[in-house]
């Protein structure tokens, strides 16, 4: 690979890792999350925090700088498979959000997460199809990408490092992510800007 391509990739991955957190529930690694707003809003998958939501304790966010902070669940939506968490801190590096509606089949995407509890690993792939409605009217970003458990709740980003989805599940050999446009709507209604 030419040197510029490798350094581009490193730069994009580096920034994306800054926006990605690890989630721990009852002391165990559970998945990943994305820093959505600098004032402490974290987005993740509903199924990653499922149990912790009910107990409302034991949920921790591990920041890229290794700080561990307790997190509270502000909103939990099983249908969208999204959860909004708050951590008490400011000045976090929020993710740049891309337009999931403009994804083109074949364009590069990257997923960052904590598969099997390992620290921020990246996988690359391409968009499989333009976003379309799937089962039960849900819209998914579909990617030809090898996700692992632990990637759930983490970011799916384009070649510019903009988050276009939250990794939700694996369907056959496809990776499915909740589109960023859906996440934006969810965050705005759950935690309007002050």
């Amino acid at each position: 690979m030419p040197a510029t391509l490798t350094s581009d990739l490193s730069a994009v991955v580096g920034r994306l890792r800054e926006n990605t957190v690890e989630l721990r529930s009852m002391g165990r690694a559970g998945g990943s999350g994305v820093i959505w707003r600098s004032d402490g809003l974290i987005v993740t998958s509903a199924h990653v925090v499922g149990g912790a939501r009910l107990t409302h304790h034991g949920l921790q966010v591990v920041l890229p700088d290794t700080r561990r902070l307790p997190a509270t669940v502000l909103e939990w939506d099983r249908n969208l498979d999204l959860a909004l968490l708050r951590v008490e801190t400011h000045g976090l590096p929020a993710a740049q959000v891309g337009d999931s509606n403009r994804l083109r089949p074949g364009e590069l995407v990257l997923a960052v997460g904590h598969p099997f509890g390992l620290s921020a690993a990246v996988v690359t792939g391409v968009v499989h199809a333009a976003p379309a409605r799937g089962a039960a009217g849900r819209r998914w970003v579909q990617a030809d990408l090898r996700l692992a458990p632990g990637n759930s709740g983490g970011p799916l980003a384009d070649a510019a490092g903009r988050v276009v989805g939250i990794n939700a599940m694996i369907a056959g050999r496809l990776a499915l992510a909740v589109p960023s446009q859906v996440v934006e709507t969810f965050v705005t209604r759950s935690a309007p800007h002050d």
Partner: protein, 297 residues
């Protein structure tokens, strides 16, 4: 930043370019396969996905459907050639499949369009015979349901081959564009695909020690004749039940499919030497290839 983005844009553009000539092929129950509008009025697809011979439909990217007629099948390359009346549509821009090298980035495009990416992982056919005629490409990418028959696309958006899961149980392969072109030419000029044919039913066998010792090249495997087509080329050449075939024109035979692979490109009427073991002794027999009985359209 620019280079990763420009690669991403190139790949998306390659898919867009190829997608213009990608059609859905409805020639079997349930799941349609993919096909490529290769020349005006000619669609190629994977032969194993054509399970009906009547009422085949081809659907264009804009959703318009058109009826298609099966012109010819070639199981040896897993290609089927369909004729359509809709000639006023974009045709595939063909890339030079001979230029594809191991490690080259490639995409597979299914009707939709849907895409997957990967690299060329090997060149030369799956059974290791190599040679120009059977130069299949092994590709490291996912063939999603319905992808067989669709194009293998290079990074510039040109069609370098046809992908299929039907040539091997374990491997996803691509038939290079040069082979597809040759098959299409043959169908357009003669109306069918002519395949050298021997007329044998075969089973794979592992050679016992005694036979391994007399086998040329100390082969340890072969294919045993379990049936012979009456008056077929093998019968006329004097092959017998129980003959253990070891090689055809020097190409080792380990499974029955190796015979078809070794016959690829050989003309009807040409003679091939079959090395075999009969009654414990090695023997070479010349077989004159006949024409595989096939339906003409």
């Amino acid at each position: 930043m620019q280079t990763l983005l420009s690669l991403s844009n190139d790949l998306a553009s390659a898919v867009e370019r190829a997608a213009r000539v990608v059609v859905a092929v409805h020639a079997r129950p349930r799941l349609p396969s993919t096909g490529v509008h290769w020349r005006p009025g000619i669609v190629v697809t994977a032969e194993h996905t054509v399970r009906v011979e009547e009422e085949i439909r081809v659907v264009w990217p804009d959703g318009r459907a058109t009826p298609a007629r099966l012109a010819a099948r070639d199981p040896a390359t897993d290609l089927a050639v369909l004729r359509i009346d809709d000639t006023d549509r974009p045709v595939a821009e063909i890339g030079d499949s001979a230029e594809l090298k191991i490690g080259n980035l490639v995409l597979a495009v299914g009707y939709g369009p849907r895409a997957s990416w990967g690299v060329v992982s090997a060149v030369g056919d799956a059974t290791g015979h190599g040679g120009d005629v059977n130069r299949l490409l092994r590709v490291d990418l996912v063939l999603y349901p319905g992808f067989s028959g669709g194009p293998l696309v290079d990074a510039s958006g040109k069609v370098a081959g046809l992908v299929t899961s039907g040539l091997s149980r374990q491997l996803d392969l691509a038939v290079p564009a040069s082979t597809v072109a040759r098959i299409v030419d043959e169908v357009l000029t003669t109306g069918r695909v002519s395949r050298g044919y021997v007329g044998l039913g075969l089973q794979p066998v592992v050679l016992p020690e005694a036979l391994k010792r007399v086998a040329p090249g100390s082969a340890s495997r072969g294919v045993i004749v379990v049936s012979i087509e009456g008056d077929g080329p093998a019968a006329r050449a004097g092959l017998m039940l129980g003959d253990v075939l070891l090689a055809l024109e020097g190409t080792p035979l380990r499974v029955p499919g190796d015979v078809q692979a070794a016959l690829a490109g050989r003309r009807v009427g040409s003679a091939v030497t079959v090395s075999l073991i009969r009654a414990g002794a090695p023997l070479d027999v010349a077989v004159t290839l006949g024409e595989r009985p096939s339906r003409k359209r």
